[in-house]
Symmetry: C2
Subunit: 329 residues, 2 copies
């Protein structure tokens, strides 16, 4: 719109105002847009259509406490080797919208509208980018949650605290549900971050959703073509998925690793957000060795958008090889 | 729009037509979209805003003649190592729109609207994706051409044969202009592909543009912040660019390599489209060694979208490390 107004002005008013300039020079400069493309990306897995929808990113100063068993200079060295800036860390968030042909399924919901405001629009963008991709949140049939961390569950609620996907059944891992809803676990949880997570989950699932959720078990389909797989450690009920249709297959890893630099390249590094860090590492190595052996495609919540990649073994770690972006389906 | 209509229907007509179904089951399934996101991507280089705009892709059977000094089984092995399908090859095309604050500059124009029809929408998408990114082709001030191959110049013309960027000055490398407009060179060119290229260039620059172009020299700015750099071999006047503003700098390589798999990983492989293959290899190694030593960001026309990456040395070749997608500027 701005461009058309500018063109109209350039023809008349601008020329009149600057009569000494040649017509070409009188054209106002095109405005700097300063806004990224709505970040969504589509691909097919057999007959199933996947749309990766970015919820944005979170960039924060690198603290000594970020990785429990690596020094800041070691982390910085790993970041620099990956051509990333030192002393800061960026986490990306990529929920999925999966159309099975019969059901519209959202997997994980991002940081939600409160984070969008608090973080000045750098995350909490799922719904905005879903709408840009042509999806109406009201049309979502199922929301499948991989685990109960804020960047996966907070998007369950709209800005007014009502369900963001009002017509959707909310499916949660049975083990995750049991842990976070257990009053004993909550009472024993350390103050600070863990107590905060318990409170957040009670706010969402108790107060807002009135416990209207469907717990699901591992090794069963939670939606057509979507098999739930146990990948615990990051949380007690952390779940990944195998999505398959026809000859197509993708391993949806959730948080088996976070940003691959440095967590795929250094699978032995324990981030503070892995609740059982030893188990999380064991799961990470087991899953990535399987993915490498089977040459499986991986779709990862925390890889840089669109987060679709193969993995190869590289020394003690793994190198992520992003799938080429397909500009036409 | 379809979604709103569907919701309206689901409430009344659909329920009436299928009274035996529960309300939830009566909701029609969301349609499979089967269309990729408009593929554009923005980033800043100092004060300059770059928008990478995909022109699409071209996928074709891998012929023995595709690489002159590598056997098809060697090429297939390189493709499989990169998790790419064997026996086919995909070329990606990524023109740029650069807003210097004063000038809107397009670098290379893609395959053009005729290719879009012939290739069933798989390429020739520059204008369509530019419009999706908010650019009016009439607002373009300058079109800078890196070299005179069809996937770089054919988008200079609209479907009706008139200039696609009617208000833009067209800037071409002086050496490239001299070669392709030289009647002696044309008469000595081999039949087939090279004669076809000469004819195509005469059609565009003579017949359609009436030779209204501005030849530019190397080691000079062709637009504010955009320095032209000699990178010959691929063609006699093949040009790359250094784009800089403030502390920001990107090396815009044009066709120093094509798809990095296998041409960055195997810089000694000579594709049929490198006019002087020995010189092209020499340039490729010279430029990539410089890029590695200076840790320069590379923007590449034929890398998978968005084609912004760092390079690292890997044996005799180079590994491309894509920049993480920034979902918010």
């Amino acid at each position: 719109m701005e461009i058309s107004r500018r063109d109209a002005l350039a023809g008349a008013a601008a020329l009149a105002a600057a009569p000494m300039l040649a017509a070409n020079d009188a054209k106002a400069a095109a405005p700097i847009v300063d806004k990224q493309a709505p970040s969504f990306y589509r691909y097919k897995v057999g007959d199933i259509e996947v749309t990766v929808v970015s919820d944005g990113r979170f960039t924060f100063p690198l603290e000594d406490s970020f990785i429990l068993n690596a020094r800041k200079d070691e982390i910085n060295a790993a970041l620099e080797k990956a051509f990333l800036p030192r002393d800061v860390f960026t986490i990306y968030f990529a929920p999925l919208v999966i159309n099975t042909g019969g059901k519209l399924v959202v997997i994980d919901t991002g940081n939600g509208p409160v984070a969008k405001v608090n973080n000045k629009g750098s995350n909490g963008l799922l719904v905005e980018n879903m709408v840009a991709a042509g999806f109406d949140p009201k049309a979502v049939d199922m929301v499948v949650i991989s685990h109960f961390h804020t960047d996966h569950v907070n998007g369950l609620l709209a800005a007014d605290g009502t369900p963001a996907f009002p017509n959707a059944e909310v499916l949660v891992p049975a083990a995750e549900w049991k842990f976070w809803m257990d009053d004993g676990e909550m009472s024993r949880a350390p103050a600070g971050r863990m107590q905060g997570l318990f409170k957040n989950n009670r706010n969402i699932f108790d107060a807002a959703l009135k416990r209207k959720v469907t717990p699901y078990e591992w090794n069963k389909e939670v939606a057509p073509g979507l098999l739930a797989v146990e990948t615990i450690g990051h949380t007690p009920g952390h779940t990944s998925y195998v999505l398959s249709s026809g000859s197509g297959k993708v391993f949806i890893q959730s948080d088996v690793t976070n940003n691959p630099n440095p967590f795929a390249t250094h699978p032995g590094w324990h981030a503070f957000f892995d609740q059982d860090a030893d188990m999380a590492e064991k799961t990470r190595r087991r899953i990535y060795d399987m993915v490498v052996a089977e040459k499986l495609l991986v779709q990862a919540f925390h890889y840089p958008f669109p987060g679709l990649a193969h993995l190869e073994k590289d020394g003690d770690g793994y190198r992520v090889v992003p799938m080429p972006w397909n500009p036409t389906i």
